[in-house]
Symmetry: C2
Subunit: 535 residues, 2 copies
């Protein structure tokens, strides 16, 4: 049964019924025009201003010759202009492509070429980086610089000022055909073991993810004002899809205090009476340390989300104390599926603290073996997902898509199991599992133990090629006190590991380093570690 729509244009029906991310901003701006959408380091941008800038930039992008579903690369830090550019693409039917700006220049160049990017929007601060890689970017024809001032230029390529595009006279709403399953964004994974992959997410996917996040965060439409303080990078799905977009979809305020600084973050929470925050465990540690020193009023915060790593019980308790009115929950997911699970139910707080919690209502999780058979509770295999906000696939990578969607499930590349309550227990990334002496060792499990050893600040565990063991469990550790002798620290780690781990899981080697190589979201770059240590 489909309706007979003869006599109507495709656009008429599309405008009235579509799932479009651009429309979400339109709606928030219609209801909350004079409310602050984004407080960007002291500058307040109202919903009306944000929406007007998005419409103007979107219109300019189309006028400059970009056509439906072409990508617009964004080399931008967290800013209100980032958000406006993202929504400009959504409204124009273009694909927003925020790029991880902490990647190496050659990786960024690779991404721009792989995606066929013709237009780059960049903060002026990234102008020099761009000039450096431009000679290798055959298809880039247009650069738009944010905050560059009147003399904006990038050698040889047409360069415009973002401000000139954003602050044009309004010309009526930008209404072009955008289909539910058109791509809204393309986020390249950091590609620790292979070339980066462009993860496509449709308007439906980002929209459903946003509603799901709002629901899981207990947010409410406008009435009880949701105020988020965000320091996580918006070129990553967590900052973008879990935090900033859901907040704007329900008329809340996003506070961007700049790069993470404990004092500045606490100031921002207090000044804006933030209701929702999300940090990495290591950031929480810094915050509760600062908080102990200078008691702030953090009573407005109702929800503290963490991710990327489990939080030890002692730290959880400290966060509870510092944020007296907040629930503390763990979110998990990956660029291709976010949110996937949330550890949020009070009864699991202590009994399942090392799990990922149950899947969110819009995701089904199963465990699959190598043959595509689904496994019962308790059995270990690859974590696979289904749901309306699962990525529609990787750009320009049919091989990856065939692997990702085999047997009608999205393959996460993570290993784990489900328990009888449907709660997901993550073991390790498939590629990080260490195969040692015929046994599989979860690097994550060893990390949890080694991190708690005396004298250890943080650690990463990898398998290194070994004639006897196949792979040898190796712990790379950073000392809490730089004056500790490496041999002493090594002995402490081994002693602690022997107490808490089966013999075959105890590290065969302990290597002390000053610093771990990390991704933008604080995960250790294990591929880099392995490569460096195997030499």
């Amino acid at each position: 049964m489909q309706p007979d729509l003869s006599g109507l244009t495709a656009l008429e029906v599309n405008l009235a019924t579509r799932t479009s991310l651009g429309d979400a901003l339109t709606r928030s701006a219609r209801m909350f025009g004079s409310r602050t959408a984004i407080a960007d380091r002291g500058r307040s941008i109202t919903y009306r201003e944000l929406d007007a800038a998005a419409e103007s930039v979107g219109r300019s992008l189309l006028e400059s010759g970009l056509s439906h579903q072409q990508p617009v690369a964004m080399l931008m830090g967290n800013s209100w202009q980032f958000v406006a550019t993202y929504f400009a693409c959504a409204k124009a039917g273009l694909v927003a492509m925020p790029v991880n700006v902490v990647l190496a220049p050659e990786d960024i160049a690779w991404i721009l070429n792989d995606s066929g990017t013709t237009t780059v929007v960049a903060d002026a601060a990234f102008g020099p980086l761009l000039e450096k890689i431009l000679p290798g970017l055959a298809e880039v024809k247009s650069v738009i610089l944010v905050g560059a001032g009147p003399a904006a230029s990038t050698g040889g390529v047409s360069t415009r000022n973002w401000e000139d595009l954003a602050l044009r006279e309004p010309a009526g709403p930008l209404e072009v055909l955008v289909e539910d399953r058109d791509a809204a964004q393309c986020l390249y994974t950091s590609g620790t073991t292979s070339r980066p992959k462009g993860v496509l997410a449709s308007h439906t996917a980002v929209f459903v993810a946003g509603l799901t996040n709002a629901l899981m965060q207990g947010a409410s439409w406008g009435g009880e004002h949701a105020t988020l303080v965000n320091v996580l990078p918006m070129f990553h799905t967590t900052g973008l899809n879990t935090l900033v977009l859901p907040t704007l979809m329900i008329g809340g305020t996003v506070v961007l205090p700049g790069p993470f600084d404990p004092g500045a973050v606490l100031d921002a929470i207090e000044a804006h009476r933030a209701t929702h925050v999300m940090f990495l465990p290591i950031m929480y540690r810094a915050l509760v340390g600062t908080q102990a020193a200078a008691a702030r009023d953090l009573s407005s915060v109702r929800l503290c989300i963490y991710a990327m790593a489990p939080m030890p019980d002692t730290l959880l308790d400290q966060v509870d104390e510092a944020f007296p009115n907040a629930s503390v929950i763990l979110g998990s997911g990956q660029t291709e599926v976010v949110p996937a699970t949330v550890l949020q139910w009070p009864e699991h707080r202590h009994t399942k603290a090392n799990s990922w919690g149950p899947p969110v209502p819009t995701v089904e999780v199963q465990i699959m073996d190598n043959d595509g058979t689904l496994l019962p509770a308790g059995e270990s295999g690859e974590i696979v997902y289904r749901g309306p906000h699962v990525s529609s696939g990787y750009w320009n990578n049919a091989d990856a898509n065939r692997a990702a969607f085999a047997h009608g499930w999205f393959h996460s590349g993570d290993v784990g199991h489900l328990d009888e309550d449907g709660v997901v227990w993550f073991t390790d990334r498939l590629k990080d599992i260490i195969k040692s002496g015929g046994e599989n060792v979860s690097s994550v499990e060893v990390e949890r133990v080694v991190s708690a050893a005396p004298g250890v600040q943080e650690c990463s565990v990898v398998g290194l090629p070994d004639e006897r063991w196949g792979e040898a469990v190796c712990a790379v550790v950073v000392a809490a006190d730089a004056t500790t002798a490496p041999a002493e620290l090594e002995a402490q780690v081994i002693a602690h590991a022997k107490q808490h781990l089966a013999g075959f899981k105890v590290p065969k080697r302990v290597i002390v380093v000053d610093e771990l190589p990390k991704t933008a979201t604080g995960k250790a770059r294990k591929h880099e570690l392995r490569a460096g240590l195997s030499r």
Copy 2:
């Protein structure tokens, strides 16, 4: 940018990424298998049982020859079998078509013929009705009776027992291709002024509506258990899409105590510790009275929703008192767009009590004049909508669709205005506005005043053809005390109206009746009233 999915089947990608209502039940059943999904008059159906029945019935429907997107008519009262049949259709890619069973038999026959229905699922109680209309239903080839016992038959047409289909051995999950914008349901409007129209809603529409309702109802996924007591008919979008489906999408429990009876409803709330309820104002009035006479513990209820009519302040206060921990909110919408608005913010409780409140986050509302121009705040015109859960159109009715989607907005057929806060003020149905002496009179406004006149229990106001006025404002009233003389009541109504209304709005005629003709959701059938009185 679309991904290259070569080497994959359409079904593999569809299963992993689609927006499907059937999958929503699968997910709830996976997480909460042993939890009660539906408590149907003393019988508890777990999620596992509900999902298994839906899969079995869906499989049987496909095996009996129904093909993708064919309708399945449902002549059913509220029951767990209704819900299982609805989800059976969703899982099988068929269109669930619950029919308003209080319509006249000829209307039901018209609907079955218009939709091209070949298969009808009916409660045994509607067997006689079905036998009566079957001779006029050329296309119906199969009837499935619920609760008919072994001798199920419907003269001449293949008849099976629902129970035989539902309780088959499981045969693995039912996994067929269902697209996001396939129709999930078709609900025929009651057609007060024209033939009934089949309103199609896609999987995306019903799913987004469900998430939006869950968000607006402050529901949470599983943890804090959502328990709904529902007496509204599920063949209507309110019972189905606002109440039952959102509750099941988030793992809550639906309690069906049977037809509305104040004592039984209060018993059910107390016994099940209900968290959410929704009733018509007239039902709240009865509940408040019964509660006053014999108090139950209603402290579990957090949300009291009402709809279809405003509630007077005194009744609102009584509901507050009877449900001490509940917020009281008004929902509005129509079969084609639900939810549309929710009056929920505390600051509007008294200042905007006669409004419909602001639009929900997934809907944009505007006011349009006859030429398709959007009007500014304060100006009156047709209420028009946009959003992902707007109906995809009317079945088999291109004329209605052309009118409904003209100018890229869905036309509600309602007249009203927006205020400066974006709150929607409903004036009247376009077709119920009374044109009297060159003035437009809102029947709704006159009803509000006449309802509050001494001696009046309820009323409906219509315009009747009149030589002098064009249309004359006519109040049809039911006396609170049947012994009041009609002339006396008429005088009281006129006196009260003169006190509270401009002269041209005061009824020219007052007609006392024993009972008002009503739709299944308690709205007066004005078309019928007008027809009866104009004779």
